[in-house]
Amino acid sequence: MWHIDEGTLHAYLDDRDRGPAAGALDAGLRERVAQHLSECDVCTASLRLAERQRARAADILLAATPVIETPPFEAVQPMVGTTPIRPIPFPLPRRTGPRRAWMPLAWAASLMLAVGAGWMASLMWQGGEVQRAALEQPASAAGSAADRADAGAPMSPAAGGVVLAPAAGAPRMAEGAARPAGEGSDLRRAEAPRQEAKEEVAHADRLAPVAALSEQAAGNRVADTGAENRRVTAEDRGVTAERPRQFVARDPARDAAVIGGAMARVNAAAAAAAPQQVLAESPALGFAARSAEGGYPGDADVAWKTVSREEAERLLGAPLYLLAGAPISEIAAAPQASPALVRVRQRAEEGQIELVQWRAATGQAVGADVEKGVADAAAQKSAVDVAREARSQVVAPPAAPASAVVQPRLGRARDGGSVLSIPAATHPVILKAPPGINPALLITRIRQEG
């Protein structure tokens, strides 16, 4: 006696549940299976087992089902025309060749890797030569450390301040290279300790070839800094090494690969009906994302006082950025800080989040404000701080190219929570997530209403 196979039994059950639309069995086969099941106890038992498996699998899948709230169709229509067209094969092409047809070419990849490693090693070796030369000239090295800080490079966490990546490193670097020598000598009067300068130059030299290579590989040199800037000197390397790496993306609002890109498009439709600014939509994501590594304004020793939302927005000069859908538990401000800070606490599903925000000062480099505020609060200004502060007062914010997106950098707050700096459209924001929650996952929910 023949028996029905497992696949046909499942197809029979699928067909029974969804009807002919399932296309699981043709009518003739369905009748034959039904007939056989009425006569065969073995197959009937198998059918029961298949039913249980089916139900159990459905339960497991149900546990992996989110609460689905679909936006209206009208929200999709504005996205049409902004999505890059790619050929979509249908049906999906079958694989024709052997699965690992590329394997014979692995030797070529290994060879390329070896050549690349040798090249990098030679660059590192050359960097070491320059480093030795720099160490033999400690006075100039101290100057270069001050210059590097002056060029807007991030402060080391040990300095006790917020580490801020410049909005666009290359233009700043160009400015730093073109600055008159006299200004540099002013900064040297900050009298940075000689040993610290040596260490910083050495560190910069170790990093410089790697940074230069990564940028070259990415094909993403933002601005031509000129022949002078390409000189291999300890100063130059110091600037290059600390410049944040960038990657080129398409227009953030049109690129699904950019965090919040799709959300931005969806909300563009809603923005037409109600004036609502969506953070992810703003070109700010095309500017530098700053890091709060090593410090967080919410941790700073400043006196917070509860304020109304209106008062907070008056301090900011713009509507608050909020995490959508999370009730506000507190709005506080530190108006005596420079600049005045506003802190919003919200109860999100993930736990309590904080959004520290402050008014962006006109004409100042991005990041100068919070850096100054935190540094003041900590009252620990090193020579590097002084140099950087001096520069932030005189350099206008560089115009970041809309096509460049700097990799978001994350930091840590005092209580172990993670923080993410967001250069939003109207003013800067630092998002602090509770421990264990990645703040980058919350970025698409941050909006500005009003």
């Binding site: 497991i60 899948l61 689905i68 679909t70 169709f73 590594e293």
Partner: protein, 170 residues
């Protein structure tokens, strides 16, 4: 002529569910589902109207989910600063949320133990596609879909039970 608004209403939730089980982020899944429709509408505006629109949408969704997985891998490399973060604070009033998250994690772990083809067929069926549509999308013969589904369900249940047993043992 396809009524896209109607198709959207019928399919969007299924697409979100399908994409969620690929990217494991409800918000992102919703974004991607809309992206799927935006792309489909864009193609339709150029005169490319597929015969099986619903299956075609899932083809686009599969491509987008694949791209998303690559992007997540890249992003993971960038987020190394978060490695070794403090353990998640457990709030007593959040026990239900934690339980739900555990159930989802177990389902995800079980699904990830399936072969790629088995998982794809299972998810497409669960998203509402018919046997012929699944066959067209995966390149399998229509007659093989039942067998693949049966194997996928059996392995999913076995993997989930094994995970539960391990959880209880600990």
């Amino acid at each position: 002529m396809i009524d896209w608004a109607e198709l959207y209403r019928e399919t969007c939730a299924d697409l979100v569910r399908y994409l969620h089980r690929k990217v494991w982020d409800a918000e992102r899944a919703r974004d991607l589902a809309q992206e799927v429709f935006a792309r489909a509408l864009q193609h339709a505006a150029r005169g490319h109207e597929p015969e099986h629109a619903r299956a075609w949408l899932f083809s686009i969704a599969a491509n987008l989910a694949r791209d998303e997985a690559k992007m997540v891998l890249r992003r993971k490399r960038h987020l190394t600063l978060l490695q070794g973060a403090a353990s998640e604070a457990v709030q007593p009033d959040a026990s239900e949320r934690i339980e739900r998250a555990e159930r989802e994690a177990a389902a995800r772990a079980a699904l990830e133990q399936l072969g790629e083809r088995d998982r794809e067929v299972l998810l497409l069926w669960d998203a509402g596609l018919s046997y012929p549509e699944i066959a067209a999308q995966t390149g399998l013969a229509a007659g093989a879909i039942g067998t693949t589904l049966a194997r996928a369900r059996r392995r999913l249940v076995e993997a989930h039970e094994a995970l539960e047993a391990r959880h209880v043992a600990h």
